[in-house]
């Protein structure tokens, strides 16, 4: 990530039209801009357009950038504004109303049949089939990343948005709440469900695979 200390210099270089400075920034953020845009718009091509438009917005807005937020936060704010505007223009309804009340239908993190009965005389609600530790080398495999990517893709839209920003892009919970207009609690509920499902998918994959 671009160091905060070097940020002022970078901004000054960009204002002066320094191509190397722009290249640094583009290499750092462009792939992430495209992925985040993809959360809002329906196609990869549209996401790439939004990212390109964001860079134009960055260049045009440079003179107004005052460093009150980090450069990174500022760039992503430009991106989410463009992406939201575009989604509305294209008549794509964002699932934001669903974001407001994620807790209405309960969803257990782990299938109920993995646990003993809540009335079990000795071990109420304890594991019937315990999770087994995963082999480290399997976690390093490219295939495992593929399984996680697929599991995230299969999530309901709102859960996918939250886990993509938090765990894939590494945003803070405040950044995610601001980008998606979510309360702290709702963000946590969505993240919890998303992580639980992705873990379950990974467990299913790793247990069928080896032992």
């Amino acid at each position: 990530m671009v160091e905060t200390a070097g940020e002022e210099q970078l901004v000054a270089a960009l204002r002066a039209g320094d191509e190397e400075a722009f290249r640094t920034l583009v290499r750092e953020y462009h792939p992430s801009l495209v992925r985040v845009a993809r959360i809002y718009v329906p196609t990869q091509a549209a996401a790439e357009d939004v990212a390109a438009e964001t860079w134009l917005g960055v260049l045009k807005g440079l003179d107004r950038f005052e460093g009150r937020s980090s450069l990174r936060t500022w760039i992503f704010r430009i991106l989410t504004n463009i992406a939201k505007t575009r989604a509305v223009r294209d008549g794509r309804t964002l699932p934001f109303s669903a974001l407001q009340e994620p807790g209405r239908v309960p969803e257990p993190a782990v299938d109920a049949d993995r646990f003993l009965d809540p009335e079990h005389p000795r071990w109420p609600g304890h594991w019937a089939v315990k999770p087994a530790p995963w082999p480290e080398d399997a976690l390093e495999a490219a295939e495992t990343r593929g399984v996680i990517a697929e599991a995230i893709e299969a999530l309901p839209a709102t859960q996918r948005m939250v886990i993509s920003l938090r765990d894939v892009e590494g945003w803070s919970s405040d950044e995610v709440r601001n980008a998606l207009d979510l309360s702290e609690t709702n963000q946590r509920v969505l993240l919890h469900r998303a992580r639980s499902k992705v873990r379950a998918a990974l467990e299913a994959y790793l247990s069928e695979d080896g032992t």
Binding site: H30, S32, P118, G125, R188
Partner: protein, 83 residues
């Protein structure tokens, strides 16, 4: 602490994992959560799996910028600079 707190079942434990990792569990619940881990290897493995899931998800971002995309963006930059 020798305080007797009501025990958490594994089924309840898995629903608190995200709150725990987000630092959102109030003091007494965090205590119950940590006491549970200290004597349950199933839930210890579960918590570790959630951490591993998060870590692997964070490695999905290793795609680099394609040379074509970089060229197009730098062209746009040059265009902007000369206007």
């Amino acid at each position: 602490m020798s305080q007797q707190v009501e025990q958490l079942s594994c089924r309840e434990f898995v629903e608190l994992v995200t709150d725990y990792l987000e630092g959102a569990l109030p003091g007494e619940e965090r205590l119950r959560f940590e006491q549970h881990i200290s004597r349950c290897d199933g839930c210890t493995a579960y918590l570790e799996q959630i951490r591993q899931t998060v870590a692997v998800a964070g490695r999905l971002t290793e795609d680099a910028l394609s040379p074509d995309a970089e060229r197009a963006l730098l062209d746009a930059f040059r265009g902007w600079r000369t206007t």
